[in-house]
Subunit: 640 residues, 2 copies
């Protein structure tokens, strides 16, 4: 199929190969090493312990139909293939820079078993093949078969790029061919598309590696999604003997299928689905030069980040639909803010910034990386949050595994691929989006440029960026000036520059010689943040942020349920590095007042307010919460 649009081609910035970016000490080295050494192996161990791998025993006869139980007592889901896919993807990102035959053997084992189980027509889904073969493709609305294949496909692409082995990729190309043969608008094909988006962006990844099946594969799916109705789900339900009106989510806005995507201007429904869809829209806008898709994606990004976004970068406030409700509805203690959704926002923002170098995208990528996504994994890399609340009374604890373990592998694949978020390039252009100690080997078109950042970021805002082209080369260096930065000082080889900040980036265009040093200083005062008055949950409250890091107060540091504290406007707050706090972190301390329980005594209500006593508080980075003893936590604190 050919692309029939006639708009000018969008030239995107191409992300760095994540394996070409090595974190060299500091924050992200610690995290990426934790993911590689702890998270990836323990996730495989969990999948083994919990019987995921057993489902891949295709040589055994089909197992009973009833929903089985994992050994830990958690129920199994029909879309666990997606976890294989995401785990292989995360593992693959670690493999290229750190070859690991044992890990590769584990991946190969899964691949071999999937290959063995794949049906002769290319269909691949371990749940349905092993347990309910007659139900395949009977419920695109609820059962996530394309979603599962999409994640396997992403895993296959990543593993191919890491290992050079084509077996998994070939398996998934057969599966994609099967989807394309089965679904479409052509006569004889089924008109449906999966209600859980994912396959769309996976198809683009495949296309970018193989040139096949052309963006039209994903576009065809999106086009049906963009069409006038989602009546296929109704027809399908009736075929199953169900009344479409009994659909638990009532209307298809849950899956963003309530109106053509190009017309949508409010982010609705299931948050992860929305993020995957919009990521695919951004990719498709590039590959098909489709400006109307890009416009919709832009509009939706602004709606999300301007009206439906936690200060931590969390999104999707409600557990009821795992997603969005009304604008400005951002409850703290009941925040759903799924880890996967924040992770997927990074996917989307990263893609948008490839098209349009604008820090309104990358600011939010940085925000979720340091806060609302990273909070989803424990500091030791083996416990997780699904929901990322912004306030707790002590009953939110991380878990080792989950009945729907989608988040662990999602945060793993994001952090394992983090290098590609730091730098993007075009011929003659290098964009630096994130800061942190690293050494990177980049290509600007065919010009190799090596880059090194020396910095204690995010604990400190001073960065020494050494630019090392193989030989002197003329190119544009784009540096992101974070939205949180009020003043930045930039020098090249000691000479202070004052370049204009355009859409949150400064551009230094010059002949770059090996060893040129750009020094960037972002002062990092502690900032108090206040919320739009329409966010009623945050009225009268303050949040603390320093640089890209959002803070919270935990009971363990403050000796009492932190909701009994109130901060004092206008008082000086101190930031200092505490080396023995969970691997080292900057904490914020300052004066506060605590309610006197002694003075109140017994009883629930009375006609005079409680008395307060002076005290001091300590706040820690939000992403580090719930790593010590249980207790209350709050991001938004009362302030008087």
């Amino acid at each position: 199929m050919t692309d029939q649009s006639i708009t000018p081609r969008i030239e995107r910035f191409v992300p760095a190969d994540n394996a070409a970016v090595s974190f060299t000490g500091g924050f992200w080295e610690s995290w990426t090493e934790t993911i590689r050494k702890v998270t990836v192996p323990t996730q495989h161990q969990r999948m083994d312990e919990e019987g995921f791998l057993e489902v891949l025993n295709f040589h055994l006869p089909p197992a009973p139909l009833a929903r089985p139980i994992q050994p830990s007592g958690l129920s199994m889901q029909h879309f666990f293939d997606s976890d294989f896919g995401k785990w292989i993807e995360a593992a693959s990102y670690t493999l290229k820079a750190h070859p690991n035959p044992e890990l590769e053997a584990k991946i190969d084992d899964i691949v071999d078993r999937l290959a063995e189980g794949q049906m002769t027509d290319g269909y691949l889904n371990s749940w349905f093949i092993r347990r309910e073969p007659k139900k395949r493709w009977t419920n695109l609305r609820d059962l996530h078969e394309m979603y599962s294949m999409g994640h396997l496909l992403e895993g296959a692409v990543a593993y191919f790029l890491a290992s050079g082995k084509r077996k998994f990729l070939n398996v998934m190309i057969r599966a994609v061919d099967h989807i394309i043969d089965t679904f479409g608008t052509e006569p004889g094909k089924l008109r449906g598309y999966d209600a859980h988006e994912e396959i769309e962006l996976a198809l683009i990844k495949l296309y970018r590696v193989t040139g096949e099946p052309a963006p039209s594969g994903a576009r065809a799916i999106l086009r049906r999604r963009a069409g006038p109705d989602a009546s296929y789900y109704d027809e399908e339900a009736r075929k199953r003997g169900q009344d479409p009106k009994d659909y638990v989510y009532k209307d298809y806005s849950y899956s963003q299928a309530h109106m053509p995507v190009r017309e949508q201007d409010k982010v609705v429904g299931h948050a992860v689905r929305a993020m995957y869809l919009f990521s695919a829209m951004a990719d498709l806008a590039v590959e098909t030069s489709d400006l109307s898709l890009l416009a919709a994606s832009n509009r939706l990004f602004d709606n999300l980040t301007g009206r439906q976004f936690y200060v931590t970068g969390g999104l999707g406030p409600s557990g009821t639909n795992e997603g969005f409700t009304r604008e400005y509805d951002l409850p703290n203690a009941t925040a759903y803010a799924e880890t996967c959704a924040a992770v997927a926002l990074a996917f989307w923002g990263h893609r948008m910034a490839q098209i349009d170098l604008d820090s309104r995208f990358t600011d939010q990528v940085e925000l979720v990386l340091y806060n609302g996504a990273l909070s989803g994994i424990s500091r030791d890399g083996q416990q997780y949050f699904y929901e990322n609340v912004l306030e707790s009374h002590g009953d939110n604890r991380r878990w080792k595994w989950h009945y729907c373990p989608c988040c662990p592998t999602n945060i793993a694949r994001l952090i394992a691929s983090l290098g590609s978020y730091f730098y993007t390039t075009k011929p003659g252009e290098l964009a630096v989006h994130l800061y942190g100690a690293n050494q990177a080997e980049l290509l600007l078109g065919d010009v190799p440029v090596s880059v090194e950042q020396q910095t204690a970021y995010p604990w400190d805002g001073d960065i020494a960026l050494t630019v090392n082209p193989a030989k002197t080369a003329h190119f544009k260096l784009h540096l992101r000036i974070p939205g949180w930065s009020r003043s930045a000082e930039i020098s090249v080889n000691g000479e202070i520059l004052t370049p204009a900040v355009v859409k949150g980036y400064v551009t230094i265009e010059r002949d770059w010689a090996p060893g040129d040093v750009v020094r960037i200083a972002f002062p990092m005062p502690v900032e108090r943040l206040y919320a739009n008055p329409q966010v009623s949950e945050d009225a009268g409250r303050v949040a603390l942020k320093r640089g890209p890091v959002v803070y919270c107060l935990e009971e363990v540091d403050n000796g009492l349920p932190v909701q009994q504290l109130r901060l004092l406007a206008g008082t000086e707050l101190e930031a200092r590095f505490v080396s023995d706090l969970l691997g080292g972190a900057v904490v914020i301390e300052g004066p506060a007042e605590q309610a006197s329980l002694l003075q109140w005594g017994e009883g629930l209500y009375r006609t005079s307010p409680p008395a307060f006593e002076p005290t001091r508080f300590r706040a820690i980075p939000y992403h580090l919460w719930a790593n010590r003893e249980a207790g209350a936590m709050a991001v938004w604190m009362r302030e008087i």
Copy 2:
């Protein structure tokens, strides 16, 4: 069976016959007339429309087993008999003072059909007889058969007292005999008791009318409940082929069956179950002079009202277990605070005050009557709340009917029987618990005393209480001094008295002559209430109360989501009667500040707080909320 305890007999105050108390103008006349003229007839109409009455067609063959759907699309429940019972009870309370042959015919129709359906061994439950006859008595943990029979029994007692007809009572006595034959500790009997308490207090009602089956019937059930374990539920589950560990509520504290009731000191589990249990414990303490039961009931009452009680009188904060969580956990926007639970608290407090004349019980009865229970029914008497939130963002709307319509008939039976909450008597003693315009014919032992209250209470705290014994008589008049009253002035025939306040009551003992007038003045300033600092949701917030009435702010009166307002400490607040507000009510008005959306502009977060502008607010009685257009509401308002 004989009562084997040897403690001195507890002499209780006996509630007035509700039919002997006529509300004469004012607040409660309006509500009791609404219940009689609108609520009772429309509830019958709903039960008819929704197919409840159809289930009583016992002459038809058993209907399919699958859970059927009400015509409105709501699912049916297996415990709908309880709604017949509560509806008949409410209707009966209206019948005695207002004979209504048409209404009586409707009750008789239900009674005739229940009598026809009753099984030969006395078993009665329309769901199981019509739909799942083999499942009777197989699941006391979840299926509420005794609960349903208990409510039918309460209805039968009330209908017998109102109409003199014994048919329904006889049906239910046969059902009770069947329960006593089937369950017990004797050999050959089943050792179980219903996990949803109710039958216990219904049995006491039966006993008080018929002298049978002696309090031991209820006591026997309670004794098994008070026993060392709830293993019967486990055995029963195994018999059904279920693993007891799969119990959705995890442990039997959900049904207060986790430890002997006499040892319980924290109110836990399902709120309505708890209130029904504790009400029965109070009754049983009287009938069996069981001081240890009374001590437990006292302790639990204090735990509830001192640590787990909304300012409105709502209780049971969580929808997950329809009940209690941890102490001081009182979220506002997600408050469950089921109408039935507040209604049942009135039952409990009323019973405790019959034993111990202490306003710490009756204060809470008054609180729920004017607030957390009354909020469960619309001003027009035909729409309902199940959950009574204390804060809304506009999406809480009253419903006409519900898949679990337990609350409508519960609030109806409470208000329809309200007269009995106003007065209780003993020989030589008359206790006045509540204030409001009414005329009552009471008996102090065998001494008839007529009483009249002239007052605009609760809008005004001046009461003229005329005492009219048939002839001059010596007795004690106990008057409740509400806990909210800071100063009360009392005079008899113009002479000011200063009697001591003992446990919230003053006692005037004298020869009372016909026409003696007691004047009571309770000043009703607007009060600001503050919550214990351990209630984190209310920190920094204020609630407004005047007399017994708790207030809230609604968007419709204030022109904006009220969470954007903040009240100002120390400013003067004005109370005034607004005659055209939902039948007339006192509103509270005063200065406030509102956040400037214009000044804020777009965007979610920034480093300076929003600007505020002066404005004024209006608050209305909480029980009147959600009777006009949809919008935000808050009881607890920020205050600076």
